[in-house]
Symmetry: C2
Subunit: 371 residues, 2 copies
Amino acid sequence: MNRGERFTITYQISADSKESAEKMADRIRIEQTVEMPPETVPDKAASSFAEILSLKEHNPGQWITQISFPFSIIGSSITQFLNVLYGNISMLEGILVKDVDGLLFKKLFSGPAFGVEGLRKSLNANARPLSCTALKPVGLSTPDLAERAYQFACGGLDIIKDDHGLADQPSAPFNERVISCAEAVRKGEQVSGKKTLYFPNITTSPDKVLDRFHQAADLGADGVLICPQLTGLEIIHTIAGEKILPIMAHPAFSGSFILQQNQGVAIRLYYGKLWRALGADSIIFPNAVGRFAFTKETCRQLHKCMTDPFDGINKSFPTPAGGIHLESVPAMRELYGNDTIFLIGGNLYQQEEGIEAASKEFQKTLEGGVQ
Amino acid sequence: MNRGERFTITYQISADSKESAEKMADRIRIEQTVEMPPETVPDKAASSFAEILSLKEHNPGQWITQISFPFSIIGSSITQFLNVLYGNISMLEGILVKDVDGLLFKKLFSGPAFGVEGLRKSLNANARPLSCTALKPVGLSTPDLAERAYQFACGGLDIIKDDHGLADQPSAPFNERVISCAEAVRKGEQVSGKKTLYFPNITTSPDKVLDRFHQAADLGADGVLICPQLTGLEIIHTIAGEKILPIMAHPAFSGSFILQQNQGVAIRLYYGKLWRALGADSIIFPNAVGRFAFTKETCRQLHKCMTDPFDGINKSFPTPAGGIHLESVPAMRELYGNDTIFLIGGNLYQQEEGIEAASKEFQKTLEGGVQ
């Protein structure tokens, strides 16, 4: 039998004996491929079977297994790959998807159209970290949001994104908001003398995302914000393939996949490899010292996954967010290095001198010393 | 201030003191709405705030809080509702979304276009449970899959669905497969003398689902199978709104949301209310005695949620699956009652007498005694 091209997925299994671990690995091998008792699989479909390459105890009660899958069960569908990766077995306890070998990504995914280099180029910022803030809160009218965008741009911020809670509410409908905020940012650029990018939130029903993406471009946006786990993951790959605007990915609704230590998808694989491969030019993740639960080590590793060489796939800009304060930027810069977008939302609004002056201060911290 | 129309979400919080629970409830109130320090929210947006209605200890260390949200932060977007329900807080430990009040569903969601009554009507099966099987495995050619579909239809099964691992692989491309399997089922109906429905799997990239749905209808399918958590949830509502084919929803990739006791979305809310409201005419869920981890009580409650009166929203057909055996059908019927689709995959293929005879036997068990 021609075994054809294959890829390997590494799973961590929690089990109290070698026998249980073997049973679970075999379960994965079947469940994610033919999904029927092995003896009922006809010879003609035998090439669909996965194959267990290895199984060993990693820590007490934790087993690592490498399972080889044929590309033929994927076809060329990223969504079907996700199904093979963690479809049915997402409903079993004690399985963590640890890693996927690089060839899979190279074969199925195109990655970010712009990436770190593209965003740097459009901002003429060759080496320093980038600044980003969020337009908020939901409930403000379009003119009020545009006024804020103007002030942020006057302060010289690099990227102004919509809060991910700004959708198409009557208080500031999408089209109206994009037109006004993009205009406001262009005016602010006249004051600051530097480029500022505006990224409206295009998160909406999966079937409408592509239209809203093009609308954003037509109405003057410089990029978009999207929540991949709300829209369906492969849509990111579709819009990235249009190569017209950079994409900032937001982790809303994705926590269930990555919060458990022994279950779900490993954080580095999920945000660091998968979202990068899908084409997110910037990936927002919960900052270590912010209001979410990631550790510094996790954040450092995530940063590495998003920027390390990866089979020719462009780098994603790591974008730590959540509870970053103006005064913590130097420490954060030390933690993450220069290939980083620092996203400060709430704390810029808290500064007594107002958001324009606060933005200037933020920007100064990042521009100092490197460029 | 006009507080406008509102809806209530019930969250369970794991906390070791009343103070911690209060802090977390307040956190949810802010994080899911204005997402900025309360003192920085301008008066003009004050109507966007959520409000904590109650907080009480339910079990030791488990607190129940009811939080009231303004409809104005949703607009009319189901995706934005999902973001408010569990967007950012999906990245916090110890929060379980328990319930949402009915008015929300009535206002935003249309539910199944066909539902239990519609499927019964198309099969002329007024009171008995329905039978269902899965075409498998991936890797078989179109003629081989069609031959299996023919045999199942000759055996008189009610519904033949694609395995959710059949996508658009070269071994049996979507269009070719749908044409051949639908034809085969029509021929089988001539033999059995009764109606059989064929549901191909339309799970694909979110932006292509609507096209594939229409394609399925054009090529002769009688319904579709889809994995909502792979395609993005709101797409189900879009295709249900077309009112042309019934939809069977498959739980692949959704386990992370519902497996934890103290985290994620309560199983009943997720499959029972949300997927029903989104418009799934049939909802597949892991059967209690099968190869997944749901208890009998959970399954009974899920069944109830899918079929209880729900603000005028049509019933979804509860479809327990996973490890059901031919001989366990009578016991399962006792557990679930008649408003149930029993999905037997692997075990039909295991019967020595072949799948046509096994299908006849399965069908006979369901038709006996009631109609």
